[in-house]
Structures are given as structure tokens and as C-alpha cells.
């Protein structure tokens, strides 16, 4: 036991002297988070900033259509520009051409909306005119919005009261069945009525970038780890340790502890950057996770995966340059594929599926569970298990290789 303690404290001491390694682990990700969160704020489309105006032509304002219009007005993206049919002739040509989307309510809209039975030959309640430039998913979302508003208006009419807030949400989810995990569905994608977590919008810039660069940085423990590991291998310190009856397993396990501590420290620091530093510079403030236990769990699993991977590369490599190059390349590939550099929600569905081969993508999903989807701690269990499995496999391989060469 005292041998392990000695090994661990040696490793910590070595780390504390390795300024370059520490800079890579702490300063780099902090800078990335700052830059990306602020630079990408617009690109990530804060939802209130995305706005699609459309022309809404109403006959007159009656009870029901008033309720309907009110419901439409609540929509964060589709913003109706109200015109009554009476006002229309004056501005027809200019207005109707100015909007890519026009929605016209039938003259007897208010009368017919509450009726449940509608004859086959009956004229439509409302007519939607779309410019050819309107993308299919925007169209679908618009239809859903209209249906949702109609349902609200009818309910209001039938019960004489608005739905309580909770039920409104449920209703909205049922009706707006066009959202996927990352919000707006790609054209042609299957539209599924989702569980609540699936209808959550894409992450904000800070919600994406804090976990993403944290994961990336956690995997970069390979730099300091392989530097010391290779010098131990090359300079015969491992030989010396072996002669002191320290097994390869002990040598490897002793590396887990200090780098795990480093990874947790990175977690604290990066969350703090997202929470306190990014807003100072004009970005969004990172929300607290829905579950601190979940956050700790997923972070621990990511750490195990990252260290296992680093150890494998370090045992494979002959020189520390080789290790840092090999590790760096793999990390960048993992990151590029896994939604670290390019957020997954902007990837086409095929890429989103490819992303799932990257452990960094599992890690990101885990973090988003608690930062974005307000999930309980149990939500990160699948991702954590996958990461632990990955780390375990890497560690086992490293141990096999290392025992042979030790």
C-alpha cells in the first residue's frame, strides 16, 4: 500500500513540474470554451433570435379566432404579422410578396373551428401559401404550430378556460411531433412523437462548448502521461521499479489516481469558466447540471476512458513524441467525428450516426443529459457504462502489452 502511495505522490509531483502539460490540460480548454462560446453564440441560434415572420390574414376578431391568434403569437419562432381581410386589398401585392408564408383563415373560421365533424367537401378552414424557397421542415413545423394553436383554441372554447401550464406542455409535445433530439428534423427524417427529453432544443453555445472542450481536454492527459511514461520506459526507471518488486499492474494503476484527480479538477474549472467567465464576456451563463451525481458519474467515466486510452498509446509508442503525436491525432479524430469541434446537431443524420463510434460522442451525450436535457442521474448510466467499458478494454490491452515489455 505504501508503495502505491509513493507511486501516486511521485506522479503528482511530476505533474506539478510539467508546466507545458498543465497548460495543455487547463488553459487551452478554458480559452477554447471562452472563444467558442462567445464566437458561436449567433451560429448556435439562441432560439429567440431565430424568427420567421409570416402573414396571417384573419376575417374579423371573434372569440375563437382571437384565441387561435393568441396561441400563434406565443410561438417563439413563427411570428404572425396580422392583417384583416378588410385591410388587405390596399396592400395585397406588396405584402403577399414580402412574406414567404401566408396563412389565410376562412371567413367562417371562428364558427367552424369548434365543430368536431367536418364534411368531406367542405372548404378548408385555413389556407397556407408557401413560397418555393420554404424548406420542407419549416413547412412541417408551421403545420404543427397551426394544429397546436387550433387545439388550444378548441379546448379553450370547450372548457371555457386555458389549460393549466403543465398540460399545455404535454399537449404541445403531442401535437408538435416534428422535433427530434436536436430540435428541427431534417427533411425526410421520420417524425416521431417524442418523450419530453427528445423534444428539447439544441444546446446553447455554452452548453455545447463547456462539455465538448472539457472532454477534449480530459483526453489530453495523454500529453503529460505519456511524457513521464516514456521517459520511465526509456531510462530504465521501470526496470528499477520492477527490481523493487513493483508489478506492471501497480505501475499502471498508480497512474490512474493522479490523472483522475486532474480530470476532476478540469471539470471544476471548465464548469466555472462556463458559469462565471463566459457571461462576463457577454456569453450565456452555463446552467447548473440537473444532477451533480450524474455529472460526477459521467466525468469519472470519461476520465477512466481517457486515461485507459492514454496508457495504451503510451505503452504502444517508442518515444514520447510518437505518443503525443499518435494521441493527438486520435483525439482530434475522436473530437471531429464525435461532435466536439462541430456540434452533432448541425451534422446531417448520417454523420450523427457515425459520430456514435467516437467515445467523445458518448461523453458529450452524457454531459448534455445533465446540462441540457435536465435528466436525472440515471440518464448518464448507459453512456458511463460504455465509457467504462472502453476504458477497461484499453487498460487491459495496455497491461498485456506492458507486462510483455516490462
Amino acid at each position: 500500500m505504501s508503495k502505491i502511495t509513493a507511486l501516486v505522490s511521485k506522479e503528482l509531483r511530476l505533474l506539478s513540474r510539467d508546466w507545458q502539460g498543465l497548460a495543455v490540460l487547463f488553459i487551452l480548454p478554458a480559452i477554447f470554451i471562452l472563444i467558442m462560446s462567445i464566437a458561436m453564440q449567433e451560429a448556435f441560434g439562441e432560439r429567440q433570435a431565430v424568427r420567421i415572420d409570416y402573414l396571417l390574414i384573419v376575417p374579423t376578431t371573434t372569440e375563437v379566432s382571437g384565441e387561435f391568434v393568441r396561441a400563434l403569437r406565443e410561438h417563439p419562432v413563427f411570428r404572425p404579422q396580422l392583417v384583416t381581410a378588410a385591410e388587405l386589398p390596399a396592400s395585397t401585392s406588396s405584402d403577399e410578396q414580402a412574406y414567404a408564408i401566408t396563412v389565410r383563415l376562412a371567413d367562417d373560421f371562428a364558427r367552424r373551428l369548434p365543430l368536431s365533424d367536418r364534411g368531406a367537401g367542405e372548404p378548408p378552414l385555413l389556407t397556407v401559401v408557401l413560397a418555393p424557397t420554404v424548406k420542407p421542415y419549416v413547412r412541417e413545423l408551421l403545420y404543427a404550430t397551426l394544429r397546436q394553436a387550433a387545439v388550444k383554441a378548441r379546448v379553450q372554447q370547450l372548457f371555457g378556460t386555458a389549460l393549466p401550464p403543465g398540460m399545455q406542455d404535454l399537449d404541445a409535445i403531442g401535437a408538435v411531433s416534428v422535433q427530434t433530439r436536436y430540435g428541427i428534423a431534417a427533411p425526410g427524417a421520420t417524425l416521431t412523437a417524442g418523450r419530453p427529453e427528445d423534444t428539447i432544443a439544441p444546446p446553447t453555445a455554452v452548453q455545447q462548448n463547456v462539455p465538448a472542450w472539457l472532454i477534449f481536454a480530459m483526453f489530453f492527459v495523454i500529453v503529460p502521461l505519456s511524457t513521464t511514461f516514456l521517459s520511465e520506459k526509456q531510462q530504465g526507471t521501470f526496470l528499477r521499479l520492477q527490481l523493487l518488486n513493483i508489478s506492471p499492474l501497480q505501475s499502471l494503476l498508480a497512474k490512474l489516481v493522479p490523472y483522475y484527480a486532474i480530470n476532476l479538477l478540469q471539470l471544476l474549472l471548465m464548469v466555472a469558466v462556463g458559469r462565471y467567465l463566459v457571461p462576463l464576456l457577454g456569453g450565456d451563463r452555463l446552467n447548473w447540471p440537473s444532477s451533480f451525481v450524474g455529472l460526477f458519474l459521467i466525468a469519472s467515466a470519461v476520465s477512466f476512458a481517457a486515461i485507459g486510452f492514454a496508457l495504451l498509446i503510451a505503452t504502444l509508442a517508442r518515444t514520447s513524441t510518437q505518443a503525443t503525436t499518435l494521441g493527438g491525432v486520435f483525439n482530434i479524430i475522436f473530437g471531429a467525428v464525435g461532435g466536439i469541434m462541430v456540434p452533432k446537431f448541425v451534422m446531417p443524420p448520417v454523420m450523427q450516426r457515425i459520430a456514435d463510434v467516437s467515445p467523445m460522442s458518448w461523453a458529450l451525450e452524457g454531459y448534455l443529459d445533465v446540462f441540457l436535457r435536465h435528466a436525472p442521474w440515471s440518464a448518464v448510466v448507459p453512456e458511463s457504462l460504455a465509457l467504462l467499458g472502453f476504458g477497461g478494454a484499453m487498460l487491459l490491452l495496455a497491461l498485456l502489452l506492458f507486462t510483455r515489455a516490462y
Binding site: 509513493a6 530504465g236 526507471t237
Partner: protein, 314 residues
């Protein structure tokens, strides 16, 4: 301490024979020199002795018993100083010693005493708090040695512990090794420097191309190889008359001008007396005169040459 029989080691594919049927006895309490050029197989032999490298064939006995099954127990009695600087350059000398002491299982209460003692032996006390990376070559060698001493081993295995250091540091390390040996520690000392081995070791084995070409107590070997050669070098080539006189005494010029001469004789005093009188009469200035010790070197080189030629003819 160690008995080795028919020890062979082949590396990789195509097979490279690093050790070829080595028989060796390292007596307890000896200061055993293992001498051989680079690539001779010294490190391989040492590594097999301490169980760092597996053998291809043969037997190794430690204290009269086969090593298999009691490797850990054996290792606790061995201090190993690798050829490379096997410590952490970014840690200070003290931090290195502290870590290796703990790793070696030195009880906490004794650690500081042991660290001080080892620093004392190797003369590092004043430098213990500097990062090892800033040590000079000699200090690094001494730290490497100090680490091997921490757990008070009965046997000290030193793999070329004086490579790449200045004469002063080398002298210091050699003296310490002799001192440790006097205190009862068996020392196995590998080197490719003949003078070192000749100076400090009481037993010698010469290894070349994976074979032991010579072994025995130093005294015996020296006597055996003592071919009694006297070498002289004059400050300037002597005049023809003096040269003739010297040649009459049996001296043979070993260069064109006759500045360097050599004489094979078992009677050193007589030869020196003759040399003295001839040089004195002619007022010749003797720059250098050498008898005895250099012979081991010559014998060694001859051995290596002989071995190389036998290898070539095979």
C-alpha cells in the same frame, strides 16, 4: 554468490545471439569486473542475473539455489544501477531518493536516515534539493548509484556506472565502490574501460561477442598476462649512437624515428638501469616510461582480436 552454467540468450528474429553458453562464478564478497566492448552482452548478462530478462538456456544460481520461484526475495538483496539515468529529472535528488526508498519498502521511520546515508556515501548532500535535471553528469551518476543503495543490498550490480563523466567524478565513484565492497557488499561491475576494472576489481571476466573469453582472480590473470614489457618514449628522437646502444640492450624501436622503444624482459630493474645509464650519458630526456600495467590492456586487446578472428572463421 552467483553461479552461471551454460547461459545463452538469443534476441528476436532473425535470432541474435547475445550470450553464448556462458559459465561464470561470482564469489561472495568479491568486486567482480565484467569487462567487454559495447555490444558484448554485459547488460544482457546482468539483466538475466537479476531476472529482468528471460534466458534462452542455462542455469543461474543465487546463493547456491536456483533463482526460479524466489525472484522477489532475491531482488530485495540486490541493488541495481542501470546504465541509463534511471530517475526523474524534474524531481530533486531528495525527492527521487524519497520515492525510491518508499518504493523499495524502506520503513518510513528509517527513510530519512537511509537517504542521508546514501547521499553521504555518494557526496550529494549539498545538492539534494536541486532538480536532478540540473545535475552535472557526474552528479547524475552518483544519484543513480545512491538510489541503488537505499535498501541496503547485499549485492550491488553496476552497469557501466562511469560512462561519460570527468576524471574527478570517476575517481570518486570508483573509490566509493571499493569502500562499499570493503564493507562486505558483493559488487558486480561492468565496464568497457580496462583501467577501471584493473584498478578496483579483484575478480575479472572478459566477455566478447556473448562469450566469456577469460575469467579468474585479478592477481592470477595479471601474473599470467604479465609479459614484462618496458616501454619508453623520449622527448626527441635519440641520436644514432644512443639508439644503437639501446638496441644492443634489446630495445626495439616501435616507430620510424625511434622516439618510442620497447623491450621484453622479465627483469625490469636491470632493464631500467641500462636505460638510465644510456639516457644519462647522452643527456636524453625521457618523456614517459611504462612497465607492467599496460600489459593487461594489450592482452585484452589481443584477446578481443583473437576472439574476433575465431568468430570470423566460424
Amino acid at each position: 554468490m552467483f553461479q552461471v552454467h551454460g547461459l545463452s540468450k538469443t534476441y528476436g528474429k532473425p535470432p541474435l545471439v547475445a550470450l553464448d553458453a556462458v559459465d561464470l562464478t561470482i564469489p561472495t564478497g568479491s568486486l567482480f569486473g565484467l569487462l567487454g566492448p559495447n555490444g558484448a552482452g554485459k547488460t544482457t548478462l546482468l539483466s538475466i542475473l537479476v531476472g529482468l530478462v528471460g534466458k534462452t538456456a542455462g542455469e543461474v544460481h543465487f546463493d547456491g539455489q536456483a533463482v526460479a520461484g524466489r525472484l522477489a526475495a532475491m531482488r530485495r538483496q540486490i541493488g541495481f544501477v542501470p546504465q541509463d539515468f534511471a530517475f526523474y529529472p524534474s524531481l530533486s535528488g531528495r525527492e527521487n531518493l524519497r520515492f525510491f526508498a518508499a518504493a523499495a519498502g524502506v520503513p518510513r521511520a528509517q527513510r530519512n536516515t537511509r537517504i542521508d546515508a546514501c547521499a553521504q556515501i555518494t557526496g550529494l548532500n549539498e545538492h539534494l534539493d536541486k532538480p536532478a535535471a540540473r545535475y552535472s553528469g557526474g552528479m547524475k551518476r552518483r544519484l543513480n548509484l545512491a538510489i541503488g543503495l537505499l535498501h541496503q543490498p547485499r549485492v550491488l550490480c553496476l552497469d557501466e556506472p562511469t560512462v561519460g563523466i570527468d576524471a574527478h567524478s570517476r575517481r570518486f565513484i570508483l573509490d566509493r565502490i571499493v569502500e562499499l565492497n570493503r564493507q562486505g557488499i558483493t559488487v558486480i561491475y561492468t565496464s568497457h574501460y580496462l583501467e577501471e576494472v584493473e584498478q578496483i576489481c579483484d575478480h575479472l571476466a572478459v566477455i566478447d561477442g556473448g562469450r566469456i573469453v577469460l575469467q579468474g582472480p585479478m592477481q592470477q590473470l595479471l601474473q599470467r598476462m604479465h609479459s614484462g614489457k618496458l616501454q619508453v618514449r623520449f622527448a626527441a628522437a635519440p641520436p644514432a649512437s644512443s639508439l644503437a646502444q639501446l638496441q644492443q640492450q634489446g630495445f626495439v624501436a616501435t616507430d620510424a624515428g625511434g622516439r618510442n622503444l620497447a623491450l621484453h624482459t622479465p627483469d625490469a630493474p636491470a632493464a631500467l638501469a641500462a636505460l638510465g645509464s644510456i639516457a644519462g650519458l647522452a643527456g636524453l630526456h625521457i618523456e614517459r616510461c611504462h612497465y607492467g600495467a599496460g600489459n593487461l590492456e594489450e592482452a585484452y586487446l589481443q584477446l578481443l582480436r583473437g576472439n574476433a578472428s575465431t568468430v570470423e572463421h566460424e
